[in-house]
């Protein structure tokens, strides 16, 4: 028996706890060390080199869809393919999040409707899209529904000579801004618009609490946004150029092209994730006590107003946390792009670039890093919003 005050160290729970944690840490460290040394040994055996130089060499293939970044075959580098891949993943991800949220709320509320048709339609929507594997849905939308129903370039659906819908893509006019100062002016205009909208909403809320007179806040916000946009384009008019789609032999050139797979993938992600979010919304609304709605009704609130002001704000506390997981799932599921030929990061970087350069470990680690960062940022932003909806305890 040790003669110390607390007896032997192994009788001290706290010290044992620390010792176990150190052991666990050492164990994890050893395991990681083993993985690294094993990989480097095997790579040395096969005379494979791991490096990142390939990122600065010319990409030997062409990228089809690069909306925000110029790609020139022969001069663009592999790191630019990486950037384009991230942009394309973000594009379908953000558009998907917005669409899935709108669809999720609409269907979730519709499932609680008193109208039998609306209610049944919403139930069928949820059960159908929630229970069929997503890859199958992506195939279905792209190869069975959308592509076969679109016309070829020579028979394009022509909307006022400006918008052309074909199976090679949807071709729209685009305002291209050539000078950097002009780009800054537009960026500044958009920032001002967003700040003005936030200030206006604060003022409108204050006014509503003081006078009980509501304003059409949404439409006024839209007007403010459009106003600032038009103003900034008017300022930089000399530096802009409107590019219209022109028909050529095989497709339209000029303008902007929305690829069909982007559209198919977006619809598939919106329907699939929307069905899950709808169930979260339904659960959230049902979690708000019946008394709340009845109290609102007895005060003379209309159904829509009661939903908007009384039930939804309380339901959000229940809706948001599980919906974050759905958002993260949507972003990860966007990698199914590879099956229908959309140029997301998995297709461009982990597929073609990996095939061309053979740098498997570097490329897979970078791609995993991208998804981790996007997912962490998404959940961080929504968690901040979530905090503002939670009960404030006094």
């Amino acid at each position: 028996m040790a003669s110390g005050k607390g007896g032997a160290w192994y009788n001290d729970r706290r010290k044992i706890g620390i010792a176990l944690q150190i052991l666990a840490l050492v164990g994890v460290g050893l395991f990681i060390w083993y993985l690294i040394s094993n990989a480097s040994y095997n790579m040395a055996q096969r005379r494979m080199e791991m490096n990142t130089w390939f990122l600065f060499s010319e990409a030997s293939f062409k990228v089809g869809f690069h909306p925000f970044w110029d790609f020139e075959l022969g001069t663009s580098k592999y790191w630019e393919v990486f950037v384009i891949g991230i942009q394309n993943t973000l594009l379908v991800g953000i558009a998907g999040l917005i669409g899935a949220t709108v669809v999720g709320f609409a269907v979730g509320v519709a499932r609680l409707s008193d109208n039998w048709f609306v209610k049944t339609f919403a139930s069928i929507f949820v059960e159908l899209f929630r229970n069929v594997p997503l890859l199958l849905q992506v195939f279905f939308w792209n190869f069975v529904v959308i592509l076969p129903s679109l016309p070829s370039v020579s028979n394009a659906i022509d909307i006022f000579g400006t918008l052309f819908i074909t199976n090679k893509g949807i071709f729209t006019p685009i305002i291209s801004v050539s000078e950097n100062w002009a780009r800054l002016v537009i960026l500044g205009g958009l920032t001002l618009a967003i700040i003005s909208i936030i200030l206006f909403r604060r003022w409108a809320k204050k006014r509503f609490y003081e006078t009980a007179k509501p304003l059409p806040v949404f439409w006024i916000s839209v007007l403010i946004f459009i106003g600032f946009l038009l103003l900034s384009f008017a300022i930089v008019q000399s530096a802009t150029d409107v590019s219209m789609p022109q028909q050529s032999r095989f497709r339209f050139t000029g303008g902007f092209t929305v690829p069909v797979p982007l559209f198919s993938l977006w619809i598939a992600l919106v329907c699939y994730t929307g069905a899950f979010i709808a169930e979260n919304v339904r659960a959230g609304i049902l979690s708000v006590g019946k008394g709340q709605r009845e109290a609102a009704m007895s005060l003379g609130f209309r159904h829509s107003l009661s939903m908007k002001l009384i039930q939804i704000p309380q339901a959000l506390r229940v809706i948001i946390p599980p919906t974050i997981s759905q958002y993260l799932n949507l972003i990860k599921n966007s990698s199914l792009a590879v099956a229908i030929g959309y140029d997301d990061i998995v297709n461009l970087f982990m597929g073609i670039t990996l095939n061309q350069t053979g740098q498997a470990i570097v490329i897979i680690a970078m791609t995993m890093g991208v998804f981790t960062v996007i997912s962490l940022l998404t959940s961080l932003l929504i968690n901040i919003y979530n905090r503002s909806t939670q009960l404030v305890e006094r």
Binding site: S60, N142, K168, P261
Partner: protein, 337 residues
């Protein structure tokens, strides 16, 4: 004493490893009783099971030929289906004795993968499949087209290099598998599909209406395909190489599985007599029986028979292509016995 024992053991192990690396594949194969042959297993014309489950195709025929040469029995083959990514690892790890899986011979593969390319049983090249409706007769008219690609190791690179050299533009749509690429082409996501020409023929034959599409005459890359063996066992490499040479020589000399018995009785031609083992003993130096080539021709047939059996039904005519014999305008040429 104990230390010495460990030393002896490690020396023995080192020797064991060294001998494993330059193993006598022929002895292993004879002991096992079958040739383990790595194939695609799903590519019509090259290696795909028929409705009875028997592997068929020109790649599979090379495996049968090696078995016929070694055992005198073409059926002693165990087929192992491999993906493009798995194939070289399976070969260098010793899981298979030979790889006969439409594999392109390139410098990088030759020099860095520890494998040896023997010879070519199909000279392929990347080409274009187009819808007849777009009215294109040559790849030079394809500027501005939307092109479906099955992501491969060299497909995108060849396509980009070709279009750059011809100062033409294109829009790529890259798919993961051959089935998705065909779906994209068929449902109108693109008007042009690019892949190796033999694959284009297989894809075309799988279209709902094969007559709606055609393969353009241009070939934009060199893809010599042939059987591959592990580096370091030259004796085995010779057996695989000469099994294929025997099929090609039989084609050139006009010997087929149908007429070989007849010819063996009557022929006075020296090359044929050497090949069939009626004169000299070509098998001895290879470590095979005297009639090894005769068995190949009897049981598998000549290269021409194999081609007619598997590739002609896909619409891949042989006349006028590189795969014709050198005597008929092609480049297929086997050394003499």
């Amino acid at each position: 004493m104990k230390k010495l024992g460990i030393l002896a053991l490690s020396v023995a192990m080192a020797v064991g490893f060294a001998s494993a690396a330059s193993a006598d594949t022929l002895a292993d194969v004879k002991k096992r009783g079958v040739v383990r042959c790595g194939v695609d297993g799903g590519l019509a014309g090259f290696s795909a099971p028929d409705d009875k489950g028997k592997m068929q195709g020109i790649d599979a025929d090379v495996c049968y030929a090696v078995a016929a040469a070694v055992f005198g029995d073409a059926s002693k083959v165990e087929f192992i289906s491999l993906t493009a990514k798995e194939r070289f690892t399976a070969l260098s790890a010793g899981e298979i004795d030979m790889l006969s899986r439409n594999t392109t011979h390139t410098l990088r593969r030759d020099a860095s993968l520890g494998v040896d390319f023997t010879y070519y049983n199909y000279i392929d090249g990347q080409g274009f499949l187009v819808k007849k409706a777009i009215g294109v007769k040559s790849a030079l008219e394809l500027s501005g087209a939307t092109i479906c690609i099955q992501s491969g190791t060299t497909t995108e690179r060849n396509l980009a290099a070709y279009f750059r050299a011809k100062k033409m533009d294109y829009t790529p749509v890259s798919y993961d598998t051959s089935v998705q690429t065909r779906e994209g082409f068929e449902s109108g996501a693109c008007d042009v599909l690019t892949s190796d020409k033999s694959q284009l023929a297989a894809i075309r034959s799988d279209l709902k209406d094969p007559e709606s599409a055609m393969v353009l005459p241009e070939t934009i890359s060199k893809e010599p395909l042939g059987p591959v063996v592990r580096q370091g066992d030259d004796a085995w490499a010779n057996i695989v190489r000469w099994s294929l040479f025997a099929m090609i020589n039989a084609d050139e000399l006009g010997v087929t599985s149908k007429n070989v018995d007849e010819i063996a009785k009557t022929t006075e031609e020296f090359q044929i007599r050497l090949m069939l083992g009626l004169e000299g003993d070509t098998g001895k130096s290879l470590g095979l029986s005297k009639d090894w080539a005769m068995q190949i021709i009897k049981q598998v047939g000549s290269y021409g028979e194999s081609y007619t059996r598997h590739l002609v039904p896909l619409g891949l005519a042989r006349e006028g292509t590189l795969n014709a014999l050198w005597t008929k305008g092609g480049i297929l040429y086997a050394p003499p016995f």
